[in-house]
Symmetry: C2
Subunit: 393 residues, 2 copies
């Protein structure tokens, strides 16, 4: 059933506009909001009044005047509500309690010992949530929900993890089980997509219309945000960037194809390539070690990372040509080697890109560091709170 043109639509569109204006420009006065959004002052006033009643917005001390009544400044009421965010990766489950501004008040981490079952996985999840709930004095009814950024293939309608490749699990009914246990809103999303949303929400990109976030770690995933909304594709599996073929005659990948981006740039691939180059292939290296050796100035390892950057650059150029995003934000474990990888990425893109327009794409490393995905999980709920409109027409 599609979204009709109703009074509620009209109102919720304006509510969204105002709320987002406050969020991105606080402190801001009612009059300024009216000016910048071209909504009329009475519309702004009535909606702001409601937002204050809902405790999403608060007033503060008066602002400055240049010859007239002083404006009352408005802010998001950051500590009115809280969200639990979970990053369920292949190695660890991390959890945070965050306020509406993305400030993290509590943290937990648990390792995942393999092999594992659906039940054990779910109980680790529950444990982490209980730990957070117990460790805070915040009233539990101020917590509006739990967002889960899950690696692998996810069905966001049912909140099920369909395939969790490294854990070797399938069909984990995350949402059902956690809703039953905690009786609270649960949102489940793919980790790269969650990261993309978190980046657009907390990354300080302002009005960026289209953004792609790429997570380069054990796997390589991407999330696409357009007009502040995640792009899912028809079956909800868009963003599988790691298995983009960039070398059809290249080495074989886990997935069975040849020359996937992942075979060059995942943490494991980097370590393996380094191992081969150094001829100590028996000693299993980790990606982290490659980075550390490079930092010590070992040119062989620096080269390996430089090469990695080049290949990422090729993949990103494909992405730029296809989607022409305003921004690309890079995150994940591999990007800790930013200092070695990033110059090669940027250089490669500038070399390969076709048009001067495409050259304008900003490619940056996330400012959110390791919390990018966690904050993404948090933002899954904030989107619902701030933009209750889905799709129109």
């Amino acid at each position: 059933m599609q979204q009709r043109g109703t009074f509620q639509l009209m109102k919720s569109v304006n509510r969204s506009i105002i709320l987002n204006k406050i969020r991105t420009s606080e402190p801001i006065s009612r009059a300024q909001i009216a000016k910048e959004t071209s909504l009329t002052p009475p519309t702004v006033s009535t909606i702001v009044k409601e937002l204050i009643e809902q405790r999403l917005v608060r007033e503060s001390t008066l602002g400055h005047s240049s010859g007239g009544r002083k404006p009352t400044m408005l802010h998001i009421n950051h500590s009115s509500f809280y969200v639990i965010g979970i990053d369920a990766g292949p190695e660890t489950i991390k959890g945070v309690l965050s306020d509406l501004s993305g400030e993290i008040l509590q943290r937990t981490v648990s390792p995942i010992n393999k092999p594992i079952t659906n039940e054990r996985f779910l109980s680790i999840l529950k444990e982490n949530i209980y730990t957070i709930l117990k460790s805070t004095e915040i009233s539990h009814d101020q917590i509006i929900g739990i967002g889960i950024a899950m690696h692998g293939v996810v069905d966001i309608e049912t909140g099920t993890s369909l395939v969790a490749p490294i854990l070797n699990l399938r069909n984990i009914p995350i949402k059902d089980v956690l809703e039953e246990e905690f009786n609270i809103t649960i949102k489940v999303e793919n980790d790269a997509r969650a990261m993309a949303l978190g980046e657009s929400w907390f990354g300080g990109h302002g009005e960026a219309e289209s953004m792609v976030a790429v997570n380069i770690g054990r796997g390589v995933g991407a999330g696409v945000v357009m007009n502040g909304k995640l792009y899912h594709g028809a079956q909800g599996i868009a963003g599988e960037f790691g298995h983009m073929t960039i070398d059809m005659n290249g080495t074989i990948c886990d997935c069975g194809n040849r020359g996937c981006l992942q075979t060059f740039v995942s943490g494991a691939a980097i370590a393996e390539r380094a191992g081969k180059q150094i001829n100590q292939s028996k000693v299993a290296l980790t990606g982290k070690e490659v980075f550390e050796y490079a930092q010590k100035g070992n040119p062989l390892y620096m080269d390996v990372l430089h090469e990695t950057g080049k290949v990422i650059g090729i993949g990103l150029t494909n992405l730029i040509h296809l989607l022409n995003p305003q921004k690309i934000v890079l995150g994940g474990g591999v990007m800790k080697s930013e200092e070695f990888i990033m110059p090669a990425i940027l250089e490669t893109i500038q070399q390969r890109v076709l048009t001067t327009e495409a050259r304008k794409t900003e490619v940056i490393v996330t400012h959110l560091g390791e919390d990018a995905t966690l904050l993404g999980a948090v933002s899954l709920l904030l989107v619902e709170l701030f933009n209750p409109i889905k799709e129109i027409g």
Copy 2:
């Protein structure tokens, strides 16, 4: 300035819903529209009344009853307005006059003799339009505009062709010049994107939410349609599919990079590959000839086309993984060899795709044949007429 929640928005959302319902389900009664869109009967009635006044919709003989008043059936009034569509390719400029249903009433074609200047190019365009205008009895004020599907890089805001590679032209102010000349609405769009829109409009795909159309001819371009709207990207150059790197160590492309999809699958690339295989590399083959030899059953040429299909399949798999569209529609000159290429494409995709979900992507050849791009040009104006809403929030 963003779209606010206004009464006009409310109305134009409903107008769009109703108009599209009629378009995709005609003949249909007011009551049925109300049922299927969950709009109320009075809302449907008042808006339909306006649409009839605007001559976009007409009533017809009564429908069937099953125990009650007979419904009045509604139709799009196909012959109330007309549109001129132009396909400005690198070799020819084609033009059509179409009614609202996509029925073509007039056609023109002109070759483009190279070298050419901006002025000559524009005057060929004008000539074609004048030819169409002269050859029809339709009143000129029933023609609501001219849509131009232009190859190369286009700025849709100003209606300028920024780069027309094969013609070796730049900054052709198409919209300005034609508006001046004909004093009518002009829309300029990239050809692959126009084709994508035409496909979603006239291709009989019904409610397909996300669709990618790929044009494989002299170059390879793609257009992405989401929720009935074209995706342009930040600088309006999204869809550059032909220069996707799929073989980073492959042969060098016009663009300077190695292993672009185009180096395998454009008409010229196919002909060249065939030439090499046959060892008569001196005789310049055309793509068309390769197809004809294959049709005669020559296995060498059949192989060349089969290989081409494989590589297209690799590129499309990348696209499916990244965008997960509901449908991919293939068109362009190369797809005339459908019978040899398509099996290889489908086979390759099924082999390479990662998940069962992605396997559901429908990959088909356009039903619109050579008119796909022309009807795309036409649809540029129909979108404005039928869905006057841009973007919300």
